[in-house]
């Protein structure tokens, strides 16, 4: 599973990192720190919960 974050849409709610701190990290301003990454095996459900909770719709989940 891959996660893609649109930095133009993220405004730093940090809901993703709040719900799935083991998957998402935020930068010094609270914005998603990574643009694209592969989810560590076993954390797929956390990653999905963080993605669907983004109020701005900035996170896309790409299933393998």
């Amino acid at each position: 599973m891959k996660i893609v974050v649109d930095p133009a849409v993220c405004t730093g709610h940090a809901q993703c990192a709040s719900l799935a701190p083991d998957v998402y990290t935020v930068d010094d301003h609270g914005y998603n720190a990574l643009r694209a990454f592969t989810v560590t095996s076993g954390l797929e459900e956390h990653a999905r919960a963080g993605a669907i909770s983004c109020p701005e719709g900035a996170i896309t989940v790409l299933d393998d």
């Binding site: 709610h13 301003h29 609270g30």
Partner: protein, 375 residues
């Protein structure tokens, strides 16, 4: 009025069509309320990009999740215990005036750098101005105090300008704002004053409103109270659910600046619209069982903190305030009962909501901080 979750989200994200700035339609009145109110400008809320961007950038840096947890959480926990100590032996208090309002005030005003002696008057003024109808004497007194607050901010800013000129800047937010660069030059003094004003206005009576609503909810819903006491992990999702169900801020206005269509409705430049975050938070199409509080609701794409570039910069502090303050009250006053006859709702208006006052009784308990500790 824009009311559906989908449409409110579309409006708040589309800052190019929906302007937050003052213009020929709003005149010199506040542009993000409807009707425009005779308040001084709130920076950066009443700015559009590109002018908006560096001011907001300064705020998101100061109020990032990391800065909040490192610098503000210890102070938050301290002030929570300090104010609970003031009432814990009595077995009764006003949840608003004794706990939620002073805690939210202390954490914001200490961080900003306002002197301790001013805190209670400032918090009370921002509470009473939205709590009571404008013709009420308490609101009139609050309106006069808002003028006093502007003078106090100007005085404190002037003190810090001298300190910075003398090469001995203080470590507080007013000093940090004065040293912030905007487009290569130091931030203008009137902008610093305006930022201080919005940090107070946005910080003191918003968390107050949502925490009080959560406490009243947990008075009526003992099963939720028991669940949160038994499983504090629920606070990961519960704080946002209280913001969704009991949003402090009900709506924001915008001015249409280009032809745009939202939800099948065509809008023209110069028209004013009111986007209701509260209505969006209660939209059944987005939130199943929207009227019910579901403590572990996921996903919860609520717009209680706003959305898009103008989203609340203090949201990370607000979440922690809701979590820590409510949780600690449940720990130290687990059997509190709200006196339902004492409950008074905020005066009818289009912007802020909550409980003006909420008296409660509980089994008295011991203080936890040394008695002579005042800070």
């Amino acid at each position: 009025v824009v009311s559906r979750h989908e449409d409110v989200s579309a409006v708040l994200k589309d800052y190019k069509s929906f302007s937050s700035a003052r213009n020929e339609v709003t005149g010199d009145r506040g542009s993000v309320s409807q009707p425009p109110m005779p308040f001084k400008a709130l920076i950066p809320e009443e700015l559009d990009p590109p002018e908006f961007t560096p001011y907001k950038r300064a705020l998101t840096g100061m109020l990032s999740p990391a800065r909040v947890s490192e610098e503000l959480l210890p102070r938050l926990d301290h002030w929570i215990d300090y104010f609970i100590d003031q009432v814990i032996e009595k077995g009764e208090c006003d949840l608003v005036y004794d706990l939620t309002s002073p805690v939210a005030g202390a954490i914001a005003l200490e961080w900003l750098g306002m002197p301790r002696d001013d805190w209670q008057r400032i918090s009370k003024a921002y509470h009473d101005i939205v709590g009571y109808p404008l013709e009420d004497e308490r609101a009139q007194a609050a309106l006069r105090d808002l003028g006093w607050i502007d003078e106090r901010i100007a005085e404190e800013v002037a003190i810090r300008q001298r300190e910075i000129a003398d090469g001995r800047p203080r470590n507080d937010v007013i000093s940090a704002l004065l040293q912030e660069e905007i487009d290569g030059a130091p931030m203008a003094v009137d902008r610093v004053e305006s930022m201080a004003r919005i940090l107070i206005a946005g910080g003191v009576d918003t968390s107050t409103s949502t925490v009080t609503s959560a406490l009243v909810h947990l008075h009526h819903h003992r099963d939720h109270r028991a669940a949160l006491i038994a499983d504090p992990e629920l606070w990961t999702t519960a704080a946002d659910e209280f913001v969704r169900r009991y949003p402090a801020v009900l709506a924001h206005a915008r001015t249409v600046v280009r032809d745009v269509e939202v939800g099948g409705c065509v809008m023209k430049p110069g028209e004013r619209i009111l986007a209701s975050e509260a209505s969006a938070c209660w939209d059944e199409a987005e939130f199943p069982d929207a009227d019910r509080v579901i403590l572990d609701r996921v996903p919860n794409r609520h717009v209680g903190f706003g959305l898009g570039i103008h989203r609340c910069p203090g949201m990370h502090l607000a979440r922690e305030t809701i979590r820590h303050l409510t949780k600690r009250i449940l720990e130290r006053m687990p059997d509190y009962e709200v006196d339902e006859a004492s409950l008074v709702r905020y005066a009818k208006q289009s912007t802020v909501s909550g409980w003006v006052t909420a008296r409660a009784t509980f089994t008295p308990g011991p203080r936890v901080l040394p008695q002579d500790q005042t800070r």
